[in-house]
């Protein structure tokens, strides 16, 4: 039934290639540690081209990662990730040589690995605080938008009168980029935080509304008939038939809304809210503190991918009944 069930394992043509591949698979994990030891050695022994901070701490960090990877190899925990672990170790080595030892690229726009480490070591408190502020803003705005989006989408899909009154409003306001409303929102709503939350709700709400509506409108009418012949009332038809049936589409809307929310969040923090990762980046750029900006970008990227991963985890759980779905 599942297409992946019918896939046969790759055919092995000769015994010789099989053993070669097996040898590579068993030896490769052991190369990950040395790649990072190399990075540590280069960092520690090769003199820096300038007075960079935290060189010995960075060397210690590389050494620790190398030791950790060696332990993982010994415990057979590394097989699939080994190529990435090796590539990263070599990549850090190359970056260290190119920038910290030979200073090929112009400063301050391009930093060294120790510059980046220094930001995390000295400014972690402010970075962490910015992350929490961004997450807080997102949680409230996106949460409200998602709930409202699903509710409005169900209304549009189920009620003719609701559709008559709400559809023109959705068509007028929905496609507008939420960022375009930012200047107005900051004027109309005294608290820049509340204004940003409202815009985030709008950003998350529009795609969720449209996709929920489309999902609810596409529900097979026979599903309603089945429940109705057993005496189901409207409440059951909405909550236990329409919503679960539309759930695959709803998650597409939630995913799209999350993307628009990220964009809106960053712009809102850069323009109005005096906290959060967007504000931090704005501030770092103002002081030409480029390593700080890179650090904030890295944190923001991890936050965004973490939230998307979380959404997909929830989706996989809720939609476990589906035959097959995208694997994030």
């Amino acid at each position: 039934m599942n297409s992946s069930d019918t896939l046969s394992p790759p055919l092995r043509t000769t015994g010789q290639t099989a053993t070669k591949a097996d040898t590579r698979r068993t030896l490769l994990p052991w190369a990950a540690g040395p790649a990072w030891f190399l990075a540590a050695l280069v960092t520690w022994r090769w003199p820096d081209a300038d007075d960079f901070p935290d060189t010995s701490q960075l060397a210690a960090l590389f050494l620790a990662v190398g030791l950790g990877l060696t332990a993982a190899a010994a415990l057979h925990r590394l097989s699939a990730r080994a190529p990435w672990a090796i590539a990263l170790g070599l990549g850090f080595t190359a970056w260290e040589i190119a920038q910290a030892k030979l200073l090929w690229l112009p400063r301050p726009f391009f930093g060294t690995p120790q510059d980046l480490l220094d930001v995390f070591l000295t400014d972690w408190k402010r970075l962490g605080d910015s992350l929490l502020h961004s997450l807080g803003l997102l949680a409230v705005g996106y949460g409200i938008g998602a709930v409202l989006g699903v509710a409005i989408g169900v209304g549009l899909g189920r009620s003719v009168r609701f559709r008559y009154w709400v559809r023109p409003l959705i068509r007028l306001v929905g496609p507008l980029p939420p960022v375009a409303l930012l200047p107005l929102a900051f004027v109309l709503i005294p608290s820049s935080r509340v204004a940003s939350e409202a815009l985030l709700a709008l950003a998350a709400g529009f795609p969720t509304t449209i996709l929920t509506w489309s999902g609810v409108a596409a529900v097979d009418p026979a599903y309603y008939d089945v429940a109705r012949t057993m005496g189901a009332r409207n409440r059951f038809l909405v909550l236990r038939v329409a919503l679960p049936a539309a759930m695959p589409q709803i998650f597409v809307g939630l995913f799209m809304g999350l993307g628009v929310s990220f964009a809106t969040l960053v712009v809102a923090e850069m323009l109005g809210v005096k906290s959060g990762l967007g504000f931090y980046m704005q501030w770092a750029q103002g002081w030409a503190a480029y390593p700080n900006m890179y650090a904030a970008l890295l944190v923001m990227s991890l936050m965004c991918t973490g939230l998307v991963t979380l959404l997909f985890k929830v989706r996989d759980r809720v939609l476990s009944w589906q035959k097959d779905g995208l694997k994030w």
Binding site: M1, Y223, A227, T229, A232, A245, M247, Q322, K323
Partner: protein, 253 residues
């Protein structure tokens, strides 16, 4: 899970139709019919004649334009759990397991009765598949699950809208036997739409023959045979010839 008191129905002068693209199409024309409690009535007729519409009216999914449908003297105003429909497609909810689908009627009524759900699943031969998702079932298994979902409500009237129409012929034979056994053991009233004359002859105590749309009743044949019939019974062959003539096929067909 034993059905008490099968439901009797009185249909008087039912008219019905649909407006499609601005033009009104009559579908049912002056249908009057009395169904006694415990009967197994088969509705036969050319395809598209309005038999399924009649079932929707009896189920209470739509009100008729004209006439009245009485269940034991009380007009039917809406769907009710004593009149359960089994459709041509199993229409299982893909987000519920077999067990969840069979328990649908209980969920709607707001009660929990896992024992009767398990019993209904066992009755249709799906024991061991309680946790399967609908997409993992074959067509016959899905239709069995739909049957269990209907039976768990302990219906007094089972409304069957060509429930075996899409099954392969072997599965169909088995399901016919099981439907007959269930009706015989549980004693509910059954109304079944079918295109299969042989199926009607095998299961029904009475066959109603409809004209092409708008449907009128053109034949009402009691099948006066013992409940356990053999498919090759010569009396069935005679009846079959008779019905095919009523449906417009010549006698030497």
């Amino acid at each position: 899970m034993v059905t008490h008191r099968p439901l009797g129905l009185q249909l008087t002068h039912i008219d019905h139709g649909y407006t499609i693209g601005g033009t009104f199409t009559p579908v049912l024309d002056d249908i009057s019919l009395t169904i006694a409690p415990g009967e197994f009535v088969a509705l036969l007729g050319p395809s598209g004649c309005g038999k399924s519409t009649l079932l929707r009216l009896i189920a209470g999914l739509e009100p008729p334009h004209g006439g009245a449908i009485l269940a034991e003297g009380t007009p039917i105003t809406g769907p009710g759990p004593d009149r359960i429909v089994m459709f041509q497609d199993p229409t299982l909810y893909p987000w519920r397991t077999v067990r969840g689908n069979v328990a649908l009627g209980h969920d709607i009524a707001g009660r929990k009765d896992p024992a009767s759900v398990a019993a209904a699943i066992e009755l249709v031969g799906l024991k061991g598949f309680e946790r399967a998702w609908p997409h993992q079932l074959s067509g016959g298994m899905a239709q069995r699950a739909a049957l269990a979902r209907a039976l768990v409500n302990d219906p007094r009237l089972l409304i069957l809208d060509e429930p075996l129409g899409k099954l392969d012929s072997l599965t169909r034979l088995t399901m016919q036997t099981e439907l007959h056994r269930l009706w015989h053991d549980r004693g509910f009233t059954a109304i079944m739409v079918t295109h299969d004359v042989e199926e009607a002859l095998l299961l029904a105590t009475r066959i109603i023959v409809f004209s092409p749309r708008p449907a009128r009743i053109i034949g009402d044949l009691p099948i006066d045979l013992p409940p356990h019939r053999h498919r090759d019974d010569p009396r069935l062959l005679d009846l079959r010839k008779n019905i095919l003539v009523q449906l417009g096929h010549s006698a030497d067909w």
